[in-house]
């Protein structure tokens, strides 16, 4: 089976709609297919990674801890757009840290999130073979 560059594009806020949650379900299933996987968070999608989510009072399922499992699934190229954070008054500190253990570097724990500019994000999109948008 050929290897393709998959890009999952997340542009929507969590909870108001289910796209963020169901997108994550695709990513987790997709991880088993051994493709080259990247995730892009831009526009309102950056809100998905906000730390401290607590859904008890809205009565919905809090799926934010699931993002932390991505590293175990070898999904560790997570691009967050700087301009999208800026527009929302957010910094990297407002997001939950996502990490993975690098098998090529003695299983050192490394950050999965990389903050990129709009121009860099455009280049990541440009280099993708399959783009799934949610």
């Amino acid at each position: 089976m050929s290897t393709k560059k998959f890009l999952y594009v997340n542009r929507k806020a969590p909870y108001g709609t289910i796209y963020a949650l169901e997108s994550l379900e695709v990513v987790l299933i997709g991880a088993a297919f051994e493709q080259d996987v990247s995730l892009a968070f831009l526009d309102d999608g950056v809100y998905q990674l906000a730390k401290g989510q607590s859904t008890e009072e809205v009565g919905m399922k809090n799926f934010s801890p699931t993002y932390r499992a991505l590293g175990d699934y070898d999904v560790n190229k997570i691009y967050v757009e700087q301009e999208s954070l800026d527009a929302r008054g957010l910094t990297l500190d407002d997001l939950q840290p996502l990490t993975y253990e690098d098998e090529d570097d003695d299983w050192a724990e490394k950050d999965s999130i990389k903050v990129v500019s709009t121009a860099e994000m455009a280049e990541i999109m440009e280099q993708s073979d399959v783009v799934m948008s949610f």
Binding site: K12, A13, P14, Y15, G16, T17, D43, D44, Y47, A50, K51, G52, Q53, S54, T55, E56, E57, V58, M60, N62, S64, A87, R88, G89, D94
Partner: protein, 102 residues
Amino acid sequence: MSQLHTVNKSPLDRNALESAIQHATKGNAVLMIEDGVYGAMQGTQKSAIVSDAIGDISFYVMGPDLKARGIDEARIIDGIKVVDYSGFVELVAKHDATQSWL
């Protein structure tokens, strides 16, 4: 009469909050719910839309929706009151009609 306007859309993506505020008359209230609560945050590209209107309009935001989205109340624009679902019900009861900016 006095109306309650609810907004459930992120102002970073949609025009609902801006349009609601333009159509709220003096003494009206705007309640931000669901993804609309992002409109209550300080320091966003759209915060001025709300802070400029505070005074003429009363602003409220759903606490449960803030919590779900990990937004600390300390990050909220000064003058916006946080309510829960009972507070939502009271706001509806207190105003003559409710208009949802879908």
